[in-house]
């Protein structure tokens, strides 16, 4: 029996994006089986090729961990879209593509002569997906951003995070851009499916800040209900009892176990090996717990200090209480659960050996994720595409190279 095709097998993508949000969008498409052709500027290529961390901390365009993570399973060609030849080659490729994804500043594609109108003329069923900081219209359309700026304007990952007496706190790394990348992939695939079912091609406009603002963690309704923004917690109040992070013998644990209090508290007591607390008048009702919080804290912090993260995790699990250790990347990369699920996959890089990388963010059990696909070197597939697929002669390629087209 032959194995089933990957979920996005047969979808052809031209990827003009660079940085994080766009490449993560097309990384998802490539991992689930789309044919993604990454088109980079000759010379420097994608900016993330020049971003840390580098393999063994030696900066080199072919050793960026960020680039490896974001570009697995794609093929890379170089092409200068500013040149007339480059534009013609791109339009030729676009005739057979389902999707073009780009993350230039708004208006750039039109300046290349590759705007929505030109592309849809070349291929009426094409989806052009633009990913930009603030969207393709509006007064901030041309605003510059990095992840910090997107999170500051886009809201929910930042304004409610951190403590009231300190600064608001952003989510780590490029979290905001990754999240926008997932939303862009969802929207782009929706439009591709639409075109495949007989709908027209079109221009999909994904705004990074609005992708963040559309998250349910952004709560404009709360502000309308209360007339005030959602405040950050203070270090003394936190949100509610037993929520957030606590120290233990060898690190920290995180917990969400409040809400409907009476469901969870008996489980807390069982987890601590003190089921009798449920009948203790100091702790048996919400009011009593509030009044005797210091008494409970004494038991709780002592119990935590006597146990390791893994002991506490195991006890929580036995009591069916939602608590987990605070993991570092070293912890989860070696955790038996994620190993058993093959979440981290070895990716072989010819020059560097094998690197362990995160794999499928969702497992489609009936259509395989393409495991272990390395990110391409800059222009690695020039010959394959230009000579093999488009039929350029060696002489023509040499001319294009010397003219800076590829």
């Amino acid at each position: 029996m032959t194995s089933p095709p990957s979920a996005l097998h047969g979808i052809t993508v031209l990827d003009l994006t660079q940085g994080v949000a766009g490449p993560f969008c097309t990384r998802l498409l490539a991992g689930y089986g789309a044919d993604v052709l990454k088109i980079e500027m000759p010379g420097r290529g994608d900016v993330s090729r020049h971003a840390a961390p580098f393999y063994r901390d030696s900066p080199h365009p072919e050793s960026s961990g960020l680039f490896f993570h974001l570009n697995g399973g794609k093929r890379s060609i170089t092409l200068n879209l500013r040149s007339p030849t480059g534009r013609a080659v791109f339009l030729h490729l676009a005739r057979d593509a389902d999707l073009v994804v780009e993350s230039f500043r708004p208006g750039t594609m039109a300046r290349f002569g590759l705007g929505r109108a030109e592309l849809l003329r070349a291929n009426p069923f094409l989806v052009l997906s633009s990913i930009s900081n603030f969207g393709q219209s509006g007064p901030y359309r041309d605003y510059e951003a990095v992840d910090l700026i997107a999170q500051a304007y886009g809201g929910p990952l930042m304004y409610g995070q951190g403590l009231a007496e300190k600064t608001p706190l952003k989510f780590a790394g490029n979290s905001g851009l990754y999240y926008a990348g997932v939303m862009a992939a969802l929207a782009a695939m929706g439009a591709v499916l639409f075109a495949k079912m007989g709908g027209p091609g079109q221009h999909v406009d994904t705004s990074i800040v609005h992708a963040l603002m559309s998250s349910p963690e952004h709560k404009p309704i709360s502000a309308q209900y209360t007339g005030a923004p959602t405040p950050r917690a203070t270090s003394v109040s936190r949100w509610s009892y037993l929520m957030g992070f606590y120290p233990c013998k060898d690190g920290f644990i995180g917990v969400q176990g409040s809400g409907r209090g009476e469901t969870w508290w008996p489980r807390v007591y069982r987890m601590m090996g003190m089921p009798e607390l449920e009948r203790d008048p100091r702790f048996s009702t919400p009011e009593a717990r509030d009044a005797n919080r210091d008494d409970f804290d004494a038991l709780w912090y002592t119990w935590l200090a006597d146990h390791t993260r893994q002991e506490i995790f195991a006890a929580a699990t036995a009591a069916r209480y939602p608590l987990a250790p605070v993991y570092t990347p070293a912890d989860f990369a070696t955790d038996p659960h994620f190993t058993a699920r093959r979440f981290f996959e070895p990716v072989r890089r010819r020059a560097l050996g094998t690197i362990l990388q995160p794999g499928a963010p969702a497992k489609l059990l009936g259509s395989p994720w393409l495991e272990g696909q390395p990110a391409p070197a800059l222009g690695e597939h020039n010959h394959q595409i230009y000579a093999g697929r488009l039929g350029y002669s060696a002489k023509q390629l040499a001319e294009m190279r010397s003219a800076g087209v590829i």
Binding site: G135, Y153, G173, P329
Partner: protein, 423 residues
């Protein structure tokens, strides 16, 4: 003619909380017909208690009103673009009706923990017998296989194990000063919705459905790719750096004029730095050798940030942002959930959509993160009241007679008012 990408797709949402219901709403945004399934014996926990105490922030001006379960903020923010059906699955007759619905559906999604659908006889292999090309998404903390498959989890416990809590803290501090976050639910929801669209493409190609196995933790970990690869390539365990950046400086959130007002500024290059200096009026301190190169600025970032904050803290954040953005320097005021409602840019792009609600009147709901002009997206339906679409689904879609539907109401298999306070 189709108007929306998923117009002919029916989704059964057997989920509660945020991740599952929000994933279903995202499919609703793309045009799917989403049926949210609850029971009057046990409604979505985000609807809150049946008769809560007044005065909390969950209700308009603290007033729960006549139907608190239909206006709780946690429910309203997460359930647009869907229908609401109630059905008690704990009884044989309810389960039979559920299976009738599955026969008429394309997608079933649940966030019950591994083992529960199996016990109820509604796991993928059971549903496939009823509807061979069904796509079933199960989403829980740790996924459907592996030693932790049956572990209960919520956003507040997925976030710490995903590495985000470790890396999100203030610089040089441990996670105890980091706050709880439910962003895992959003990452999970968007990844789940994308995975379902991918599975629908696969079904269109092959005629086959499948089981989509989602772990909330695994949807979050890839968003830390560079920190993970720093460990797997270099053995380095990164630590939290707050709002700073491992290479760029300045790169931080600074106090602006006003109470608890902030502005974010980042310099990616020497040019950004020169332009920032220009905007600040080329102050003498900026000429110090301490701030001459990008590396020296990064090394002396404490002092650098103090100088910059002395400039920002007397100016409104919007003024700083427009001044710096005119010069091409990445900058934005911190926009909270109240400010975002009046931000001119959000209005200009039509981000918020004003929705008319039977109990709430007109209110603004967050719109979509994308625009897709050839389809007609947007918010077609406000978050539905409990059981709002019972009659339409039972007598219309399932073809029950009026008397059979009346019997369901009589037997409390369905209804539009919760029976008791949920457990």
């Amino acid at each position: 003619m189709l108007h929306r990408p998923l117009e002919n797709i029916r989704v059964l949402e057997l989920a509660e909380g945020v991740a599952g219901p929000w994933a279903a709403s995202l499919l609703g945004d793309l045009g799917a017909e989403v049926i949210k399934l609850e029971a009057i014996q046990r409604m979505d926990q985000t609807r809150g208690q049946k008769w809560p105490k007044p005065g909390t922030t969950y209700y308009p001006k603290g007033d729960p009103g006549p139907e608190p379960w239909n206006v709780n903020v946690s429910y309203v923010r997460t359930n647009r673009n869907k229908l609401s059906l109630t059905l008690d699955l704990s009884r044989e007759k309810g389960l039979r009706l559920f299976k009738d619905l599955v026969r008429l559906s394309d997608v079933v999604m649940t966030n019950m923990v591994t083992g529960v659908p199996e016990k109820m006889g509604i796991d993928y292999f059971s549903l496939r017998k009823i509807r061979p090309d069904i796509i079933m998404l199960t989403s829980c903390g740790f996924g459907h296989s592996g030693p932790y498959a049956r572990y209960v989890a919520m956003a507040g416990s997925m976030d710490p194990i995903s590495g985000h809590a470790w890396l999100r803290g203030y610089e040089g501090e441990d996670p105890l000063t980091t706050s709880y976050s439910a962003h895992t639910d959003s990452a999970n929801a968007s990844t789940s919705a994308f995975a379902i669209v991918a599975a629908l493409h696969h079904r269109a190609m092959t005629g086959r459905g499948q089981h989509v196995d989602v772990s909330g933790v695994e949807t979050m970990m890839p968003h830390l790719g560079e920190a993970i690869l720093d460990y797997t390539m270099n053995g380095r365990v990164q630590t939290s750096i707050g709002n700073r950046h491992p290479q760029m400086a300045p790169h931080n959130l600074y106090r602006a004029a006003g109470n608890d007002r902030w502005v974010a500024i980042a310099c990616r290059s020497e040019r950004d730095w020169q332009n920032l200096c220009r905007a600040m009026g080329d102050p003498p301190w900026a000429k110090s050798p301490d701030f001459k190169t990008s590396l020296s600025r990064w090394r002396n970032r404490e002092a650098l940030d103090a100088h910059i904050e002395a400039w920002t803290r007397i100016l409104p954040g919007h003024d700083i942002a427009s001044r710096l953005q005119t010069l091409g320097v990445p900058c934005s005021p911190l926009v909270d959930n109240k400010d975002s409602l009046t931000e001119p840019h959000n209005h200009a792009v039509g981000f918020f959509e004003t929705i008319r609600h039977r109990l709430l009147g007109d209110f603004d709901l967050s719109g979509l993160g994308w625009k897709m002009p050839a389809t007609t997206p947007g918010i077609r339906r406000p978050p539905p009241a409990l059981g709002e679409d019972n009659e339409r689904i039972y007598t219309g879609l399932l073809g029950l007679s009026d008397s059979a539907y009346a019997a369901l109401l009589q037997e409390a298999l369905t209804g539009s008012e919760p029976l008791d306070n949920p457990v």
